[in-house]
Symmetry: C2
Amino acid sequence: MTIRIGILGYGNLSRGVESAITHNPDMELVVVFTRRDPSSVKIRTPGVPVVSDGEAIAWKDKIDVLILGGGSATDLPKQTPAFAELFNVVDSFDTHAVIPQHFDNVDSAAKNSKHLAVICCGWDPGMFSINRAYANAILPQGKDYTFWGKGVSQGHSDAIRRIPGVRDARQYTVPVESALEAVRSGSNPELTTRQKHTRECFVVLREGADAARVESEIKNMPNYFADYDTTVHFVSEETLAKEHSGLPHGGFVIRSGTTGTDNEFKDVIEYSLKLDSNPAFTGSVLVAYARAVYRLSQEGQTGCRTVLDIAPSYLSILSPAELRKTLV
Amino acid sequence: MTIRIGILGYGNLSRGVESAITHNPDMELVVVFTRRDPSSVKIRTPGVPVVSDGEAIAWKDKIDVLILGGGSATDLPKQTPAFAELFNVVDSFDTHAVIPQHFDNVDSAAKNSKHLAVICCGWDPGMFSINRAYANAILPQGKDYTFWGKGVSQGHSDAIRRIPGVRDARQYTVPVESALEAVRSGSNPELTTRQKHTRECFVVLREGADAARVESEIKNMPNYFADYDTTVHFVSEETLAKEHSGLPHGGFVIRSGTTGTDNEFKDVIEYSLKLDSNPAFTGSVLVAYARAVYRLSQEGQTGCRTVLDIAPSYLSILSPAELRKTLV
């Protein structure tokens, strides 16, 4: 018996989920729901139907877990509670500031329909949250640092694309190596936004656009770039396609703290990710949590959870006894 | 209401537990049990009794969780099941090969007495196990690497001390930087024992001992040193006391794997620890799991668990709602 997975949406993240399923022999993709005309969506997995999301209710008993591939700005706040009425669900909601509100909405929908939901499954929030929680529990005296990159920020790339005269753009967030080293030394530095990350932009101009004006608009854009040391490179469309078409990302979660009765010992706990493809990795995390959701719902659990509420063993294809033998 | 903690034994690890309790305002040390004459054991926490371990039964209802500070070779295989008859218990059992057997022994004792036990709480096994489990679940296609150090190996230091002519010794296990870099590159190298770690020894000779013979005996000692590139430094007793009296340790767990339908993306997940004091950190982990044991036993759970069976939120002094707000 395999775990029957449905996917909502078919963007980058959903394709990451689709490929992650192929790496997990206990899972099977059974349907992809889309808002678009289903006949216009060609998916990779042979023989799996693409269905209008309005027809999801017909799949109520044919899916064990629905994985949501939508975005946090407008899709997930509506979709996760709505689909939790029909299915066990997993999402990668990542707007940190409104996680408690999203949790409450999903929790009441899932409790009401007796389904189980896990939200915020990705790497930040997600694996980074887990590492912050463990490190804070073990080292109550200490300071947390999160660095992102080197990687593509889609939000920042989009912001550049909205500037008149820009045809296309790709923005990399880059952690500052000397800041990382200062944190690893255990000196608990106070770091400004500018000291932690730099921003590197690759921009394709439209014909006749004023490069100096575009560069200045990027560098002075509030929130996105003004607080950072930003570098702008103008490149051809071919170069952008050839050298910057991937979606790499990653980052570092570091807690630097003290132990000992008089805080006489310094400890540094570091977790890092280096990812060739952000959506493929995030999809892999979603699929591992789909396994956990399936198992926990079999145990009768309902309502909403975050990654902090799920024991690591539930994510593994191995049994607890096999885990004790091989990975503990 | 604080969580009432007892400690069994009063060696380095137990002292680490004692100091970790002072960093956790929801916990209180209430008793230390010892095999020695209790009047000979002076502990740091004022007002806490030291009691013969034979009298533990009188404390049956006065302790919420007993933390075991003993060693894995001879103490814990007997103590953890025995004390699980009386208390909820946490240990740092670390003999990887016999974890399944230790688990079974503790599980039946704890189930029988309706207590809850968590074994193998430290950093390896412990935090490293957790990171291996998460990384394997997320990246089913990949390879695990564990490096230890730079840090003091007490087993190797003891082995040197048993050589005739050696008064005292301290051995550091050192990961090979180029091997770490090769692993981080995602090239999934096959590494021999010699390629992963070197061993550095600081040795104080007895008067008249033959340095060349001692050095040769160390370097050729099977299992401990023969498979490694080993460096031996002869130092004075004063130098050893001044420069090598600490118990620093740490290490790296790295999983390098692939995502994407055709394994076209490489990912590297890395977790590392840099610890000034191995026993103080291990004590901090034990105390965090004591909190989890307390909460889970309040929920009615009994039997044995490992760190893989415990959700991260149970370790935190914060409530799940506070965690969602601040650390997810």
